[in-house]
């Protein structure tokens, strides 16, 4: 108790020093909390948009189809499959299963007037599509597809690019399953403006029933079977369970994370960057703590000598310095948590207009223009104890250096 009291009073005795070093720790905590909040928010939004508009929790297709798609080649229409009854039963028996829909995704050129633009066309079943994807909820003009419709649903950015409105004519040129050029034509039936910038620009939806014949694909064949689950947490484990249950190399089962490797990489690099920044600031803080303990020991060398003369063991003197270093860390971390919470509250409620600086559709990241922060209470505890731990660890060697001073020299020190 006395050692703690001495440590606490010494912290306030050297207010300026305590304040400067604690401020570095505060800066580290605030930076970490805001970067972490931004990372969580970006990943939540990115994965959420991928699941809602691109690849839901689980997708099943031929391995070759995915391989060619990832290689950047045009989406191959000769890599289709017909889901059998057993596959449907296995999917429906998955824990957290909600809905499924089959699609035929292929590459094409969207043509209107004299202009054309490369897009991904998804021939979908309007009866089940909206059970899995949320595009329908974001119709801003016209209406969504009905079975047998010859129209298309295009994104707001694509419509803007071509100056199209619902009812205008379009043509999509593509290579069919035999590799021959073919087209489908009709009217723009609806325009969607989703939170996924890439979907707004590059994805076109067409009724599967209408597209089957020009695509040269037989009834019942699809490129992907898309499955929606109750939540994201179940997706990876249930994809694994389905993979094991099917036990075939012919079909590949992927979770949304497998399908969105670019976001997973982004997440990894984002965290590496966050921890790197944190490590740099904490390193500066740790050096500050070391110098503070050394300076404190030099200034109080007679006090150390007296404590030794009074019979305090080296371990007890070490504790005084550890308490002081821990106190600086705790003050810095606590203030950082308080300020970090305040700034994060603003971030969560008001958001950050990232769109003003970056056009995410250009770099293919599924983010909206305004990014809203996220709360992760465990981060507050983790960063508090990390800063406290680093402060204590940084002070151990200088504290022992101080405690091992020869009492005779220390007492006579002038």
């Amino acid at each position: 108790m006395y050692l703690l009291r001495i440590a606490a009073r010494n912290l306030f005795r050297r207010k300026k020093r305590t304040f400067i070093i604690a401020s570095i720790m505060t800066l580290a905590v605030i930076s970490f909390l805001l970067l972490e909040s931004m990372m969580i928010a970006m990943m939540d939004m990115s994965f959420g948009n991928v699941i809602d508009f691109e690849t839901p929790h689980i997708e099943i297709g031929r391995g070759e189809y995915f391989a060619e798609a990832e290689a950047g080649e045009i989406l191959p229409l000769d890599e289709t499959f017909s889901p059998d009854r057993e596959l449907h039963q296995e999917i429906e028996s998955l824990e957290g299963y909600t809905a499924k829909t089959g699609i035929i995704a292929f590459s094409g050129d969207f043509i209107a007037g004299r202009h054309e633009f490369p897009v991904q066309v998804r021939a979908v079943d309007p009866g089940t599509f909206s059970d899995v994807f949320r595009n329908e909820a974001f119709i801003v003009e016209g209406s969504f597809l009905e079975p047998g419709d010859e129209g298309v649903i295009i994104g707001a950015k694509l419509a803007e690019f071509f100056g199209l409105e619902s009812g205008d004519f379009y043509t999509i040129r593509f290579r069919d399953a035999d590799g021959s050029f073919n087209t489908i034509q009709g009217e723009v039936q609806g325009i969607v403006s989703t939170p996924h910038p890439d979907v707004n620009l590059r994805t076109v939806l067409v009724d599967k029933e209408y597209a089957l014949s020009p695509l040269g694909i037989h009834e019942g064949e699809i490129t992907q079977l898309m499955v929606r689950m109750e939540n994201r947490e179940l997706a990876v484990s249930q994809a694994e369970a389905l993979r094991n249950a099917l036990g075939t190399d012919e079909l590949e089962v992927r979770s949304y994370r497998d399908a969105a490797q670019y976001i997973v990489s982004l997440e990894t690099w984002g965290y590496i960057e966050t921890y790197f920044i944190l490590a740099l600031i904490l390193l500066v803080g740790a050096i500050g703590i070391i110098s503070a303990v050394v300076l404190s020991a030099i200034e109080r060398i007679k006090e150390i000598g007296m404590m030794k003369a009074l019979g305090l063991k080296e371990g007890q003197i070490v504790r005084v310095f550890l308490f002081e270093a821990g106190g600086i860390g705790a003050i810095g971390a606590f203030i950082g948590c308080v300020i970090g919470a305040g700034l994060n509250f603003l971030f969560v409620t008001r958001g950050l207009p990232l769109g003003a600086f970056v056009d995410f559709s250009e770099i293919g990241i599924p983010l909206e223009e305004t990014l809203y922060g996220a709360w992760n209470l465990s981060s507050f505890f983790v960063i508090f104890f990390v800063v406290l731990g680093i402060s204590l660890a940084a002070s151990i060697i200088p504290a022992y250096w101080a405690a091992r001073k020869d009492p005779v020299t220390a007492i006579r020190h002038t």
């Binding site: 006395y2 009291r5 001495i6 009073r9 010494n10 005795r13 007679k302 006090e303 000598g305 007296m306 404590m307 030794k308 003369a309 009074l310 019979g311 305090l312 063991k313 080296e314 007890q316 009492p407 005779v408 007492i411 006579r412």
Partner: protein, 229 residues
Amino acid sequence: MSLLTMEGVKKTYGKGQVEVHALRGVDLHIKQGEFTTIFGPSGSGKTTLLNLIGALDTPSEGNILFQGNHIGRMSRNEQALHRREHIGFIFQSYNLIPVLTAYENVEFSLKFSGKKLNHDLKKRVVHILEHVGLGEMMHRRPNELSGGQNQRVAVARALVKEPDLVLADEPTANLDTDTSKEVLEIMVRMNSELNTTFIFSTHDPMVMEYAKRLLEIRDGNISHDEMRE
């Protein structure tokens, strides 16, 4: 039985050509309750002798026995325990802990003497501070007290744990004559009331006047040992 026995104690600092022989073979017996003053010129070895007696330093040769225990053979932690249980120190520059009040400085010493702080011991802290004339100022910090008052706190701190031996290194060097007298009288009173053994090192003739035993040290040897009434 002697409280303290020193047999052929030598202390040498440095090595080779820069060797300094601070003590050259001291034999000494101190009994419980003695009020002894060590005097001698600067560099004669007074402080070295006090450091060895107080287990702050270890001898290069010879034995130091405190109540029959070899303090020169103790580990650093054992020496620390020995100091906190048996020795009280008073230094020329007080060496109080600046962030603690007078009361806390005294209680701190008691707290780390291995005794459990109970109501009686807290009363003892107050009592001893009153005894040294600081009853009204016990909640002031060292920077709010005069030099003499600080030295009184140091005396109270050394005595509160009722040690077997109090070592005082030039305790009056920074004090004026009147304050020196007051502090010395407190120590004389403690010596007679509690039978606490005191060993002083000093240049101050006034301190010598109070001593019951005078030890003169020259060139690392005790050159004169005189018992007084």
